[in-house]
Amino acid sequence: MNTFFTAFLDNLPQVLSGLGVTAESTVLGALVAGVLAFVLGLMAGHRNIVVRGVSRTVVEFFRGTSLYVQLFWLYFALPLLTGYQLSALFCGVVAFGLNFGAYGSEVVRGGISAVPRAQWEAAVALNLSPYQRMRRVILPQALAQMIPSFTNLLIQLLKATPLLWLISAADLMTVIQQLRDRTGESLVAYLTLLVFYFVLAYVLTLLMNLLERAAKARLGEHTGTRGLLRSRSAAAAESVPVVPGGAS
């Protein structure tokens, strides 16, 4: 046990750099996913059936094919077709973005349809244009309702980042695995790794809860400080469709 932690401390710079790769891929993947979620989610509510169909197809495709397969396809198969090798981190960010963007679009769609119809009607009665209705009235209200589900997806994304190890990006898992191989202490090594992810997940949850509180305050709903420490399972129970790297 001591040997592992000695190795851990001796290799702290590598560990931190691995942590950096994990954090970077999580944040960038979440950004791509977020943008895609809104584009696809808004397309899903478009009047034009072709636009809706494109959104539906893209969403079903990236939800239906496993994230694992998508990542491997980008990293191993695409270079054979194009002759151009993408970096592991880039592949990771794109695959996470596409996969979680597809799931996120369902959250956006659900959030928009959860805004009461009366709000649309009030916006029509004030003669706001369709764009203004969405941008000024509906989205600001929908956003607050989407955040718990987005928190779930963000944690799922974080939990998917160890896949980077399989395409040899030097993420946290890769670094800790190297220390394990050197010391042979599997149990301690993997428990340490799990604790790392647990803490990261907790920090992300806390940040998202803060964001949710701010968004709700803008709608005149005030939540106490206790809500900030609320765990994910409590949040998940509220937003019924719990989304583990999978179902909607």
Partner: protein, 306 residues
Amino acid sequence: MATDPLEKTPGSTPGSAPPGAPAGAAPAADSPSPSAPAATATADAVPGQRSDTPMIRFEQVEKRYGDHVVLDKLDFEVRRGEHVTLIGPSGSGKTTILRLLMTLERLSGGVIWVGGEPLSHARTPGGGLKPATEKQLRASRRKIGMVFQQFNLFPNMNVLRNITEAPISVLGLERDEAEARARELLELVGLGDRVDAHPTQLSGGQQQRVAIARALAMRPDVLLLDEVTSALDPELVAGVLDLLRQIAHDTDITMLCVTHEMSFARDVSDQVLMFDAGRIVEQGTPEKIFTAPEHRRTREFLNAVL
């Protein structure tokens, strides 16, 4: 369609306050005081608004949901500046009329004319009509404002922003100008001190006043009021109704109200339309409808609600 109640109205409007005497004699002597000085203002306003085209004309308007007929080949007219109250049992199609005028519902048949222009149709070069596009609908909606039963204030905006949002983004007003007008309107509705409040911090009655100010900020020609006091606690109803009486007397805005407040209907209306099963069964001045109803359904309805 130019039946006598309609013909009578422009002329009878100045007189409708002195006939406020029978209204006062009747059980409902709600607020004689605000109506007395305001009546003169209406008297001045209406002759200036003389116009031969009706503000609103329903021509064979139909609304169906599947086999269920909500409005059945409806014809009626509302003159510029006229205050019309729609009464009748629930499900008789009153609210649908307002929702059609606000273009929240699509027509199943017929044409609605507002200020001589088709509301949800566009003229074709051949002189016919075709369903309007969103852009054309937006042009039609400029003339019309609506206040809802459930207020429908935007929870993501404070009181001021609720009122200035549309004038800025739709009418293109400068922010300063829009805010100055919003403050004036809030003074008018008695909420000058709640400019920065959030809608959830207001009582139902206050929220409805903000909603009225919000609708007026768009300077509509026609104001639609859809059971605006039905969701309020009883003690808050009178305040909102007094405000509407004041607006009715001080402005030349055309008003269509769906309401269950019969004394209010008697006070402000130039014309009352009694609905049943998607048809107008009786129409006339409030004095006629409330004191000498001709139709059996009207008598039954009034007996039930008064």
